[in-house]
């Protein structure tokens, strides 16, 4: 019963965070749009009567409409886009024994978690990795790389699939998939706006910048530029923080589904040992994966910042916790079984 309560609390928290995320995203785009309008309005307010005055806030209207469209799209098609971006293909008719085993294992975990069977996808990449995506349990997909199928034993594969099923069951997939769409959109917006501003500033400079702009307008413009520069970083850090917290829980729930924490521990060992990056999975979807697709890059370059930015808790820490669960389990069994 307490497990049910835990699960319900986790699902509620993910629903709430998904809503908050959408609201925050809309507010951010509103600020980018209307803030830009305000800055332009203030700056052009003192201009000679015959020159351009920015009165209609069309940037704001356009950017809020765009944000709405992006939210809707991430909600409806986020999972498809993530799968498309990794080049995954759907496994419908298993051809090799490995593929058959994958389908079997996914079916087993669907039964264990009491959920409908998610769609199964394979990514043509030699590095072992896996992720789950979707809006809810009914529309969920689980994707694994070919490297994962080749390197893991049956029990280990089952453990990894159980970890992904745990993400599906906790509704982590909803939050993570929305995040993937929005992080991507913000990166794109920041890039695009940077280009527009670059051109715009050259134009004003040519017009013989008198330097007599409205001071408030300048302040807002600076603030506005600052958000545009900082937003991609902030959104990525947010995605990573949200993901890290959920990895431990998915490890634990997954181990509960298979009743075999040691298998996940040894699977993580193998995933950690494969230090090559998962090339098919780009930064935008990194937070969805069971292990960071680009291991070492952040930690090597940014030192202590890695702790803050890394999408996943240190894999050593996860293995230690799973082993702890395994030992506890063995101890209890030893006590329960009369000698």
């Amino acid at each position: 019963m307490s497990d049910d309560a835990n699960l319900f609390a986790q699902q509620q928290s993910n629903r709430r965070r998904s809503r908050l995320l959408t609201i925050g995203f809309m507010l951010f785009f509103a600020w980018v749009g209307f803030g830009g309008d305000l800055a332009l309005y203030l700056i052009t307010a003192d201009a000679p009567p015959d020159s351009y005055h920015h009165i209609i806030p069309f940037i704001g209207v356009f950017s809020v409409a765009a944000a709405g469209a992006i939210c809707w799209y991430s909600w409806r098609h986020g999972a498809e886009r993530v799968l498309w971006a990794t080049g995954a293909w759907e496994l419908i008719e298993p051809a090799t024994p490995e593929q058959k085993q994958l389908v079997n294992v996914v079916e087993e975990m669907a039964i264990a978690s009491g959920l409908p069977r998610p769609r199964v996808w394979v990514i043509a990449d030699p590095d072992p990795n896996a992720f789950a995506t979707g809006r809810d349990a009914a529309s969920a997909s689980i994707a694994v790389t070919e490297g994962l199928l080749a390197k893991l034993s049956r029990d280990e594969l089952q453990a990894v699939v159980a970890h992904e099923m745990a993400h599906v069951r906790n509704l982590d997939v909803r939050l993570m998939t929305l995040l993937a769409g929005m992080v991507g959109a913000i990166a794109l917006l920041s890039d695009g706006m940077g280009r527009v501003i670059g051109r715009g500033s050259r134009v004003t400079a040519r017009r013989g910048g008198s330097g007599k702009g409205n001071p408030l307008g300048i302040v807002i413009l600076v603030l506005w530029l600052l958000t545009l520069v900082v937003a991609p970083v902030v959104s990525r850090v947010l995605a990573m923080a949200v993901s890290r917290r959920r990895e431990y829980l998915a490890d634990a729930t997954g181990a509960q589904l298979t009743r075999n924490p040691m298998a996940l521990a040894s699977a993580l060992e193998k995933l950690a040992a494969a230090t090559d990056p998962t090339k098919s999975i780009t930064q935008g979807a990194a937070h969805l994966c069971i292990v960071d697709p680009a291991p070492g890059v952040l930690s090597a370059r940014e030192g202590f910042l890695a702790d803050f930015i890394a999408s996943h808790p240190p894999i050593r820490q996860r293995i230690i916790r799973l082993r702890g669960m395994g030992y506890q389990q063995a101890k209890r069994e030893a006590m329960e079984t009369p000698a």
Binding site: D3, N6, P97, K100, Q101, N104, V105, E107, E108, M109, I111, A112, G114, R154, Q158, R244, R245, Y248, L249, A252, T253, A255, Q256, L257, R259, N260, P261, P313, Q317, R321, G324, M325, G326, Q328, Q329, R332, E333, E336, T337
Partner: protein
């Protein structure tokens, strides 16, 4: 005034009876459904075994007794009815199959011929599915049994024709227990 109070009280009671009744019926259906899930997997297992026996028969002719044990265990399992009888028969079948697979290890050629490996994978998966479906069934059945015995739901149990569902007990000591999730550790690390 008094009649209104009386009507409200009766209304509340009727609503509660409806709610409790529907709750029991829904649990009962979940139990039936849980058992169906097990049944599907058991059928699949029974269908796979003749294939396996036929494939290995030629190569393992002198292991006749093991093969016969598997076949007779399978036939008993097919004929079993009721939760307890099925549980016992399926347990015996699992053991007989275990011995057969242990023997096939001694025939590398046999394992190399894809077919056996494939059948073994199918049987392993089916066995896992039975195991997980059994967990789910036992969970729902326990919930159903508790609910129909608890006061005040037990007053409606007769109306809903609820009777305790049998659990699928296993004596297998090697069966793994559920690991405990320590959530305090999860929070500290986040």
């Amino acid at each position: 005034m008094a009649t209104i109070v009386l009507l409200v009280v009766i209304g509340v009671i009727v609503l509660w009876v409806i709610g409790a009744y529907n709750g029991l019926i829904s649990l009962k259906n979940q139990v039936v459904n849980g058992w169906k899930q097990i049944d599907v997997q058991l059928k699949r297992r029974h269908d796979l075994i003749p294939n396996l026996v036929n494939t290995v028969k030629g190569a393992m002719d002198f292991e006749r007794s093991t093969l016969d044990a598997v076949i007779s265990a399978r036939n008993r399992a097919v004929g079993a009815s009721g939760v307890q009888q099925t549980a016992r028969a399926e347990g015996e079948l699992t053991q007989a199959l275990g011995r057969l697979f242990a023997l096939t290890e001694a025939y590398p050629d046999l394992k190399a011929t894809g077919n056996v490996a494939q059948l073994q994978e199918e049987l392993t998966s089916t066995e896992n599915k039975i195991g997980f479906a059994r967990q789910l069934y036992n969970d729902v059945a326990t919930q159903y049994n508790t609910r129909q015995m608890q006061f005040p739901t037990n007053l409606v149990a007769g109306l809903a024709k609820a009777s305790p569902a049998e659990l699928w007990e296993i004596e297998d000591a090697a069966e793994r227990s559920v690991p405990i999730v320590d959530l305090s550790a999860n929070k500290r690390g986040a």
